[in-house]
Point group: C2
Chain length 519, copies 2
């Protein structure tokens, strides 16, 4: 008998439902053992991972099998949490919001449906990872470049659907998505945009079609199961430049932001710009106990001392430019002129031209190097991300930086962070690194997160994504007109998924019969 | 007593409803006289304008007045067709889909709510026109440039909501929209994206917020009344180049398209590229009867003769580049190299640097010059646009060009057209120019449109917008999975607007009680 079951369903009914699902997807793809189910716990849970434990996982291989599983779910009334690769680390990994949800694991649907080199796009199923797509492009000598996020083992689709980002001109992944196939909760197959026209060749080229454009409503929501997306890929540029700029003082932050803003809005820099502090650099190549073994946050004096010994400036700015070689030369002149107004700024540029060794290029190859930082606190390294959206102004950057740095230190963590700049907005990124095997530290991480979400919200800042444990908390911050946005989201939920089958609680959207579970 | 009333409402009830609306917006803003109502007919109707005649028009001045009018509309059950400036010419102008609809004229809501020069955006109400916003920027010496569509008297919001386009790097207007305030049919006020957070400063900077992103669902639909939008504006560039390239032969079209595609995808050309034929050029400066007074389409021999006499090549390509002066120099070299492979190509470049006379710049100043072409056939000049979305490949361009040219000539019109290229898609643009006072010619225009929509659909092409008379016809072409997209659109309609108050029939979306009216 099942040990954990979804709310409102008996163990015996649930077992029967799983047998019916096994008839559809095959016995080996209905995963109900303790060991199987543990594989869907959040490996970086800030607190009690079991509070998001799953009742089972089902791995269909096709749209038809998804439709079959949905029919069983509607019949018995159990919820499904769709995942693609399940690597959404820091945000819950494969774990659902609500304990007892059944994971719908789409890893077997990993077809690269189409890659069009001349028009620069791919159409992929949920299970296609950045590694897989990269290998495919290499093997077929297709000159399109990926925009992988920091760790490359995740799903191309999953990352876009969670509004993930990368470090190329195509780095705002959900904005590079074009065209979608969705299985609706009632089993209907919808193709959005130009996919609505049989035989049309612009499904992955023109985002909007005729009438309302639905793609962005199926992103970060629970209205359907996305089974295909178009994603734009960048044609190999003639040249690249990888740029690293440093400035000496903590107080340079507002001026730095004021310099970056017009360069991003005007596309002088055509990819994401990252500002990082010293801890972010330290954690990439060392562990904390090499520097400090005392209580609480690393003392600021010690950090200054380390920076001095390494001859490091306070802030490191990094970005890349992708263009023709001649244009890059012109851009770099303008960029150096702009940053040089900060006394003590340093410049380091690595250029690459087509034909040269790829190692020098700014092409992003999917990897897992980003996980090095997890070892910072030792033990079972984990992280929790806090990433509010901010206006790219010196004032805003200073305000959120001061809040976050103070609170992170108050709770005994080291401020590991900075900003990532897109065309007109910036994300304040701060990774809360902790040792999951240290219960007190994990609890502290949880409490810290809870505190900064509330305090940032009071200052008018809010996140664009969140860990499954905090989805309601973040949604609460969207408070205009008595949470009108949440009412809209839940009206849609009640209409499109009246039984509340898909991903209850995702992004704070609950189906009617579970709305009492809102935190 | 009202002469035309909405379906299902008596004349006396309708009169009473209008009196209640007058109590809300003021008597002078409830327009019911014949003369007033005629002002809302389509001035370019391809056929019987009266089939879209309105019962009345109401012009509220605020969100609160809109909420009041909506309450009356729900109580009596009459439909409202929201318009901003009503200049959507070629697509119906201010006229609604369904005869007897009441126009909700939002021209009085014309506040420029905010212009942020450093972050490059404006927040505007529906009635703000390109002329008005241009004047505001000039008067306040704000160095942001507009992307007006061909004629500049329209509404900035209306144009974005209908997926209009312009000729700058910000030319895909609905993609430059960021943040929205919408009054829902039940009177609820929704702010999308980061507007959901009280006091947040990124409403017009980050498009998506947290959870599903709704803006694109309120574009080209009938789910609410949009009362504010954020729109991104381009900071004045350091320099511009206006480029005109011509190539000699009709048969050069596919090669031309193959050259343009990578230049657009790679942003070598950072604004829309227009390909035009000779008629398009002729109509800008002359009328047809200066060249031809015979029956049917202008003979091809004559056109060739005119081109020869003027020393015109067959195709004219025009676009502009906006960047630093040094980068433009590099871009132009690359562009000239790319087009030079076509024998007989000519190049004409006008450059401008900041500080020089604005007349030489590629800045677009809103104007009405585009309407010159309406005189082509004499009489009461009108046009009907047919604009399918096509993949930017030589094959696709040739296929749609051959179909359109043949059919347009078959029906006795001159092929006035070409293509507009965006980053990954192109729009085939062909203006069907006719004399509205010539009933036979107007009927022909109507029949031609009907024919090409069907034939293009069979080839897998479909439009992204359409005239109110053809909204159902175009929606029919979105036929994947038995019109799944239309079912989705109408499920949403039934949920958000169960009484079918807002814009029945728009983009083929009908409320349940009027679904029998689908053409």
């Amino acid at each position: 008998m099942a040990e954990i079951v979804p709310p409102g369903i008996s163990s015996s009914d649930f077992d029967r439902a799983m047998r019916e699902c096994a008839d559809i997807v095959g016995q080996e793809w209905v995963l109900t053992s303790q060991e199987d189910r543990d594989g869907y716990l959040d490996p970086m849970a800030p607190g009690d991972a079991a509070s998001h434990a799953v009742a089972a996982a089902i791995a269909p291989a096709s749209v038809e099998e998804i439709q079959g599983v949905l029919a069983v779910a509607r019949n018995y009334g159990f919820p499904l949490w769709p995942i693609s690769a399940g690597k959404n680390h820091g945000y819950g990994g494969p774990a659902p919001c609500m304990q007892g949800t059944v994971v719908l694991d789409l890893k077997r649907m990993n077809r690269i449906v189409e890659v069009n080199e001349e028009l620069g796009y791919a159409i992929v199923e949920p299970g296609v990872t950045f590694f897989q797509l990269f290998d495919y492009l290499e093997a077929n000598n297709i000159k399109l470049w990926l925009s992988p996020p920091a760790p490359g083992w995740g799903s191309v689709m999953g990352n876009a659907l969670e509004r993930g980002f990368g470090y190329t001109p195509y780095g705002d992944h959900s904005s590079m998505q074009c065209g979608m196939e969705v299985v609706l909760p009632d089993g209907e197959i919808l193709r959005t945009g130009m996919g609505g026209v049989e035989g049309n060749r612009t499904w992955a080229l023109f985002k909007h079609g005729y009438g309302p454009s639905w793609d962005q409503v199926f992103i970060q929501s629970n209205y359907g199961i996305v089974t295909k997306i178009g994603i734009w890929l960048m044609p190999e540029p003639e040249a690249t430049a990888s740029v690293r700029i440093t400035v000496p003082n903590e107080e340079d932050l507002p001026q730095l932001v004021e310099i970056i803003r017009p360069l991003r809005i005007g596309h002088t820099i055509n990819s994401s710009v990252v500002i990082a502090n010293a801890v972010r650099r330290l954690a990439a190549t060392s562990t904390r106990n090499e520097w400090y073994t005392g209580e609480g946050a690393m003392p600021e004096d010690l950090l200054r001392d380390i920076m001095q010994r390494n001859k490091w400036n306070f802030w490191e700015v990094s970005f890349a430019i992708f263009d023709s070689d001649e244009v890059i030369t012109a851009r770099l002149k303008e960029i150096e002129r702009a940053f040089s107004v900060i006394e003590g700024a340093t410049f380091d540029v690595t250029r690459w031209r087509r034909g040269e060794a790829m190692e020098k290029s700014a092409r992003r190859v999917p990897n897992l190097m980003a996980y090095q930082v997890l070892n910072w606190r030792g033990g079972r390294g984990a992280h929790l991300g806090f990433a509010p959206v901010v206006a790219p102004t010196g004032d805003d950057a200073t305000r959120i930086y001061n809040l976050m740095k103070r609170r992170i230190r108050d709770f005994g963590f080291d401020y590991f962070g900075g900003f990532t700049f897109f065309q007109r907005h910036a994300i304040h990124t701060s990774l809360i690194l902790f040792d999951q095997s240290d219960q007190q530290m994990a609890d502290n991480a949880h409490r810290l997160f809870d505190t900064v979400v509330r305090e940032a919200a009071e200052m008018g800042y809010s996140e664009y994504r969140s860990h499954v444990s905090f989805m309601d908390l973040v949604a609460d911050g969207y408070n205009y007109n008595g949470h009108a946005l949440r009412r809209m989201n839940e009206r849609m939920k009640d209409m499109i998924d009246p039984q509340g089958i898909i991903a209850p609680g995702k992004q704070g959207i609950w189906p009617a019969h579970l709305r009492g579970r809102r935190a």
